[in-house]
């Protein structure tokens, strides 16, 4: 998590504001609402609209969906590898299976959504994850889920189609649930960003998952 937080420079000012208590949280919320103080954080975290940030994955909503699809493929592969690793038993294994199954449903839904917009679904990346111990795997899972939730949040306002937005929101909150469960298992705060979750931009997210994508 520490690594990821460092990478989130564009939002660090708001993160700082948000931890200072309720008064500053209002300031943080207003900053996110495009306060007229000329803050640059809003634009940097929200992009300039139309899914420009995700252009490498396709135009507009297709690009955003394909970006999300790539992340969901990664999560699905991760959980499948973890299940196979034999590192978990009992209730924890069941949780991992359940989360993996939900990520797989996200893959299906996003693939269908890309096709319905006339786009070409992003290919499934080849992945490899370090699966050394149960603890390190849970930590990685926590990182991936918190990042996934932040990734959806970072794109929500860029989505053009209300239907696509509704789908993304329905997935976004489930990623938030997953993240909270993993944070609980890790003994970490369920809301590491405080009362207002912070978005992550595409560059930050891709840089964070790059080590797990091979070829």
């Amino acid at each position: 998590m520490a690594e990821i937080k460092q990478l989130k420079d564009p939002v660090s000012r708001r993160r700082f504001l948000a931890v200072g208590g309720s008064t500053t949280a209002v300031a943080a919320f207003l900053a996110a609402c495009g306060d007229d103080s000329g803050t640059t954080t809003t634009t940097s975290t929200m992009g300039s609209g139309g899914g420009d940030e995700t252009a490498q994955f396709g135009k507009g909503d297709v690009g955003i969906l394909n970006y999300a699809l790539t992340l969901e493929y990664l999560e699905t592969a991760f959980y499948a590898d973890v299940v196979k690793s034999g590192l978990f038993k009992g209730a924890e294994l069941e949780t991992i299976r359940k989360f993996g199954a939900e990520e797989a449903e996200h893959v299906k839904a996003l693939t269908a959504a890309v096709k319905s917009l006339g786009g070409k679904p992003a290919p499934e990346p080849k992945t490899e994850f370090p699966l050394k111990s149960a603890k390190s795997v849970l930590e990685l899972a926590g990182t991936v889920e918190n990042l996934g939730a932040a990734a959806y949040l970072g794109q929500a306002a860029n989505i053009q189609s209300p239907e696509v937005l509704a789908s993304a929101l329905a997935i976004h909150s489930v990623e938030g649930r997953h993240a909270a469960v993993l944070n609980t298992l890790l003994g970490e705060s369920i809301t590491p960003d405080g009362a207002f979750a912070k978005p992550a931009d595409v560059q930050t997210v891709l840089k964070s998952v790059e080590p797990f994508i091979v070829g």
Partner: protein, 211 residues
Amino acid sequence: MNEKLSTPELAAVEIDAEGGDLSRSDVILKGALAAGAVYGTFMVGPYVRKALAMSESGDVGILNFALTLEYLESTFYEEAKTRAKTSGELKSLLNLIASDEQQHVEALTATVKKLGGKPVAEPKFDFEYNDTAGFLKLAQTFEDTGVSAYNGAGPMIKSKEVLAAAGGIVQVEARHAAAIRLQNKDEPAPVAFDPPLDEKQVLKAVEPFIV
């Protein structure tokens, strides 16, 4: 457990997909919402259309609607500090959530004002429960309903800034929901897609607690 109210058993949301064309009238909420039963296995298609069936309302209207829900949650958790008989880990969780909800109230109030609107007045609430289990059951209902309310309202929000900010709140509500569900030994993320609820459905769910 109180006879009159008990805790709200949220009945099923029924989706009648005649001809694949869903409108709000096709979606029936039976009684108060029951989080567990609300969750079905529906595909993307039906529920996005359901979300879009939410009544037209400007951003101020949506924010004030969210503010009402946050008032409810904030009051509920604040009261629970002295009523719910929590200790240890649950007590810490309660304090954390209470603080988050209070910050949501303040942020939404400020945002309504900033948009030139008038923040809705804080309603009076009445939460009937007698023990920790009763508190947790209600908490689960409120958090799941909150998530679904924001998800349902999201596509109606016109301002990108307000949408991004609401997204930052709903994710926190989802995290609360998962943590409360863990306390209840319930599935923290019961379905792959959190179902949206429209304004009418949400109001029906929270009405019993507004006096």
